[in-house]
Amino acid sequence: MMALSLKKHPMPEQAPEVRAHNFEEVALGYDEETAVAEAERCLHCKIPQCRKGCPVGIDIPEFIAKIKERDFDGAIAKIKESSSLPAICGRVCPQENQCEKYCVLANKGEAVAIGRLERFAADREMAQNRPVEPIHYAEDAKKVAVIGAGPAGLACAGDLARKGYRVTIFEALHTAGGVLSYGIPEFRLPKEKIVKKEISNLEAMGVKIELDSVIGQLYTVDELMQEEGFDAVFVGTGAGLPRFMEIPGENLNGVYSANEFLTRCNLMKAYQFPKYGTPIRVGKKVAVVGGGNVAMDAARTALRLGAEHVYIVYRRGEEELPARREEVLHAKAEGIDFRLLNNPVEVVGDDKGWVKAIRCIKMELGEPDASGRRSPKAVEGSEFDLEVDTVVMAIGQGPNPIVASTTPGMETNKRGNIVADPETGATTKPGVFAGGDIVTGAATVILAMGAGKKAAAAIDEYLKNK
């Protein structure tokens, strides 16, 4: 047997100094030879640890074996037994905390590049543009309403349609995709090539998507079931409610939530203003507050919109950054200035109501708390100002209450998340299921997708027995 490399095959990517000024995808994807060579690194373990780390339990050694044999169709078929959105998850899963974390090779060197291989198999299939078979629905097929066209809703709708249910997705925005369309930027997840394609494949199967439909306002869940003839409902409305820090100065001109900043740019294409009508204000210096994927996306978007200097302000340290490792590395290579262990205490305005600085206090990490996390403590008297024209708050999102507040009988917890059975998605209201960020709080694409699939199976059971 030949000696195996301890390192992953590197991902071809746009050079940092080039990509910092365009919105094209950063990571270019493996070609066939690289994919096969990377697949050869897999040991095809008898008890594959990697699978434990995949929230939907993809048969990783099997699909990798198929890539090694150049049976690329077989590889994607294997993946699709467990996942509905492999081109997306291969790109955005935090692999270093999931499948790749448990790969045995990670003990000695680098794990097998499972995510990159998954993306390769999915992209290769997509590029072939195979026609989608429309589903033939039975005359008396039951109807299911899906609320929200994010990964949870899309996965649920797809599985239900394949089982013969007539599915209508109701989406509040003018574009389907949820965070995949309005949040995660083009340079990480191409919209036309990947996201729109997944959605149009669903439509080709016969899933109806009603855009511009805010459930809770246009119809309530009860109206969908009692007047519009739906036999079951899945709620996948995500965690769309932006949080602010509740510090002075947050309503000054120049302060954005990450949701607004990213929506203006991704969904409304403000980066092509004035050709596209929606403005966005970036300024020369930008501070993004937070350390997760959302913060990295906002910071790198600001850079691409022309900001000269972009800070990440985060109250904990490097180790604690919750973003995908790859995004942190990409952000650093592009020149984002990380100001770790700093916490904003005020946004300082000028006399006309515009941001001129963000006042921060230095933090130090204390002893580990009960959860094992070292909680940050402010260093007294260490306040200082960072001069900026724009501040983007990327400190998390909560659940939007519109659906819950108009659906009697569907319980929520004290944070406002819908209470649902983790295995079935069943809520406390008969016939109503829920999954994704609206249940778990802001999490990941793969978990939302997995929840959508589980709920589809449970809805099938429920309707068969009804």
Binding site: H174, L218, G240, P242, F244, T263, P274, K275, Y276, G277
Partner: protein
Amino acid sequence: MFKILEKKELSPGVFRMVIDAPRIAKKTQPGQFIIERVDEESERIPLTVADFDREKGTITLIFQAVGASTELLAEKKEGESILNLVGPLGKPSEVAEGIGTVVCIGGGIGVAPVYPIARAMKEAGNKVISIMGARSKEILIMEDEMRAVSDETIVTTDDGTYGIKGFVTTALGQLVERGEKIDRVYAIGPVVMMKSVADATRPLALPTVVSLNPVMVDGTGMCGGCRVQVGTETKFACVDGPEFDGHLVDFNALRTRQGMYRDMEAEAEKEHKCRIGLGRDS
């Protein structure tokens, strides 16, 4: 796509459009609004539903062409369509029987959003006194409609070309002076007008509702761009409002936030004019 069934210029630069939107018409209540997007490249902008006909399945929008997006909408002809229309958005006005005497004040284009509230208040059996303010007689809109739903209608013009010379607050002051027992005031119009009404009614402890118009994007509570300061709290106008207690609103902050894109809006309007200019040449 949403078809424009009727279009009329009510006064220079102010348009009324009746749009085919049965789902929205069925659900809309007074005080609510929609967000529209004319085409793939345009901005999403909020407009109040000025009227709705549940039987015909139509909604009426009344808007003033003030910049790129409203001008683009104004160029659409009868029979043409707009790409996106989402609604109804926001909370409905709190209309109820037995409120008593409601004074409905509309300033300029603000008459359009106050009209369905006045109508609903009247239908619920309240006494409605309407005050309509305009800079000048020829830009006054919807006078007949307002008179038809009001027990009394007072017109004010800044220049005295019609009705009382002065502002809506002048007329409101006269109502108070003559001893009218007022139970609630609705004031919708330019920020300065809403602020002066609120300042006038605060010392009299007259409950005053205003409808706020900050810059919006999604209209579902997702972006937070529409945040307004109400008392000690920050609210999202699109989902918590658009109506708020006028005595608690920080109108100065609202004015500042409305100006966030002023220079870029001018650029967008120039680009828009340029484009239609080009269209004519080719």
